[in-house]
Symmetry: C2
């Protein structure tokens, strides 16, 4: 398939400004930031399925659902404003109002995102001072200000041609632990200067999330805060995109690429991870079952620990596949590991163990599963399970 | 409630013999064993839900289902005879026949259990030599021969009065990794001299397993081999138990106690574990949801790592509860940790952190959840997530 988008160095699309500052929530690192569009943008969001949705997550969902428009998003790291009761809801609303006042726009056009420790009240004096510091610049500090245990900022940008206009899509995200189905501790932000209807954008985001962010897992836990939001401000000047537009598929491909790259960056930066594990499944009964099997493999602690140990323990992959309820031909499963046959017809392949061990020394482990039981496909991304994962999570709070 | 059974030092019930030997599957440790009843016993089993059920597991299920009778079980550790294809099925059948021939009984009365590495063929010369060594003794070596990464044998025995007769129930098990719902890498064996119909025994086993073995988790993986079997040979001389028997509830209580103790021993001996985590849930919408919430908490890597770090990170318990689909009153969750208030009305309790940290130094961590949303209850058991878990599982194969 022809690639209709081009990866570019990270930059903001036309009409977007941003900033990041050290407000004082963290000791030294940047901890607050914002995104701003010169004009109100079409907006869409997907949100955690955890029943204890955090105050900022609930507020942003409510705000976007008003008319699928936002003009700014204000965010902080270090404190998730989650499990903070009525006070937490007041604080999220105040954070929204402080940003709106500084920007001179309606509070109904401001989203709020928080990530960090659960269960502590936001220090509103620090938040207020942080908002006061924020400026409308072209820097990318907001991509750092959102980080918690992440080891680096995660960004991606592409351009594509829509309607004869150059459209830019820029995404950044955070997340390295508590990453599992359905918006785990993960925040994703995509900005684009494409013109597109808010409801079309919402549907596209929901679909693309299912095959990208919802197919990564670090530890199986789903956080209270997480969401992916998209702002499309139309500054590129294209005719507003609908599903019937000539270039709609180009936009879908570029958008899905941006989400997929962000998702993989989160998996590779999983807490304590030393390797990215990428699983592709073919020959499944359905795409749903293909995704289910892929996710079961990247989600298995035993598989993850074996990969960390560079041990080609193929039986654990079989265990992971077999504990799904996917339709299987029990004697027909083939698996390759970085293109070397690992499992053939549900039994050990004849590849020498030393070759498999050598393949496992790589930083990216590609596991390809062929179920020979249909045309369904799936992909998922995860990471190895390491001493450092335990260390990070045994001591995060203290 | 009056306790109607008495815990006793481990012993075999009347009419049972057993033995364990070093056949040579492992370097030094015992690796084969058997159980034998002087007369055919009523038998029941529960089996892994993993789709790749191992050859011995399938064979034992088929054998028990013939007429719910067994007279012996032969077992080995070190090799699971799983994902071994047609050869594996032949080998399991041969292992059954070898034991039957040595005992002079029908092969249809012999169960087979294997545990260990997946995907390697059983060395049948070693198995045959092992069967040759096995004797009918009163020793308890079989409780050691079944172990893999377990750090010690897990046994429990009780007596109770049924119908004026003293009945003994004796259980042993293995399992320390890949422990999750529905018969994970775990083998459990219960022998009793009670007289009870095989189908009644089967129903009782299935029910009692749901609230015991199926409520423990070490790492969320469900193995290919695992099962719990019960043999009841009637040697105690009681009138055969039915659900209408006067003392049936006494037997149920004793039997459930035996299964529960074995389950807890597995959780406490989880790979690399330093602490047993016991969760009780009250006030749930239903017992099913109570069990679901309890299991979500013991199954969370983040909760497990925090407990290892002796860190009272209560937000992770909220995350675990919230990611279930149990009916919740989102503002009414109370949790205590070793009887100290940890969460009150879904927010941090006022207990000093230093007291909570001190409580977490204990070897047994009791987490009690009150959902205030019904009368349902649940329990689950697990362990902390430690450096050693990763170490054991990064290097198990090699």
């Amino acid at each position: 398939m022809e690639t209709k988008y081009t990866k570019i160095p990270f930059t903001w699309p036309q009409g977007f400004k941003a900033d990041g500052v050290h407000a004082g929530l963290r000791k030294v690192k940047l901890d607050m930031g914002w995104l701003y569009s010169a004009q109100p943008a079409a907006a869409a969001g997907v949100y955690t399925t955890n029943q204890f949705q955090a105050a900022p997550t609930k507020l942003t969902k409510k705000t976007i659902n008003l008319k699928h428009q936002l003009q700014a998003i204000v965010l902080n790291s270090a404190n998730a404003n989650s499990c903070t009761g009525a006070q937490g809801e007041q604080d999220a609303a105040q954070m929204q109002q402080l940003a709106a006042a500084k920007l001179g726009i309606s509070a109904d056009l401001v989203g709020v995102a928080s990530t960090g420790i659960i269960g502590e009240q936001l220090p509103m004096d620090v938040i207020a001072a942080g908002v006061e510091q924020l400026q409308l610049t072209d820097n990318t500090k907001v991509t750092e200000a959102v980080l918690t245990t992440d080891t680096h900022a995660k960004t991606v940008a592409v351009t594509c041609q829509i309607d004869g206009k150059t459209v830019t899509l820029s995404g950044f995200c955070k997340g390295s632990g508590m990453i599992h189905p359905n918006m785990a501790t993960m925040l994703g932000f995509v900005t684009t200067d494409a013109a597109i209807d808010g409801m079309v954008l919402q549907q596209l985001l929901s679909q693309a999330t299912d095959t990208t962010f919802n197919q990564i897992t670090v530890d199986g836990d789903t956080s209270t805060n997480d969401m992916v939001t998209v702002l499309a401000n139309g500054a590129a000047g294209n005719m507003p995109l609908t599903t019937a537009s000539t270039d709609y598929e180009t936009f879908v491909a570029a958008f899905t690429y941006v989400l997929g790259e962000l998702a993989k960056k989160i998996a590779a930066d999983g807490e304590g991870a030393t390797k990215l594990v990428a699983v592709t499944v073919a020959g499944a009964w359905s795409d749903f079952e293909g995704q289910q099997v892929a996710k079961a493999i990247v989600g298995s602690n035993l598989v993850k620990a074996a990969i960390y140990g560079e041990d080609p323990n193929w039986g654990r992959i079989m265990v992971a596949i077999g504990q799904t309820d996917a339709h299987l031909d029990l004697t027909a499963v083939d698996v390759t590991l970085n293109k070397l046959p690992l499992i053939q017809a549900s039994q050990a392949a004849t590849t020498e163990v030393s070759k498999l061990e050598a393949a496992l020394a790589a930083k990216v482990i590609n596991i390809a599963v062929e179920l020979h039981n249909g045309n369904g496909q799936g992909q998922a991304w995860g990471c190895d399970l390491t001493y450092d994962y335990v260390k990070i999570n045994a001591t995060y709070h203290s």
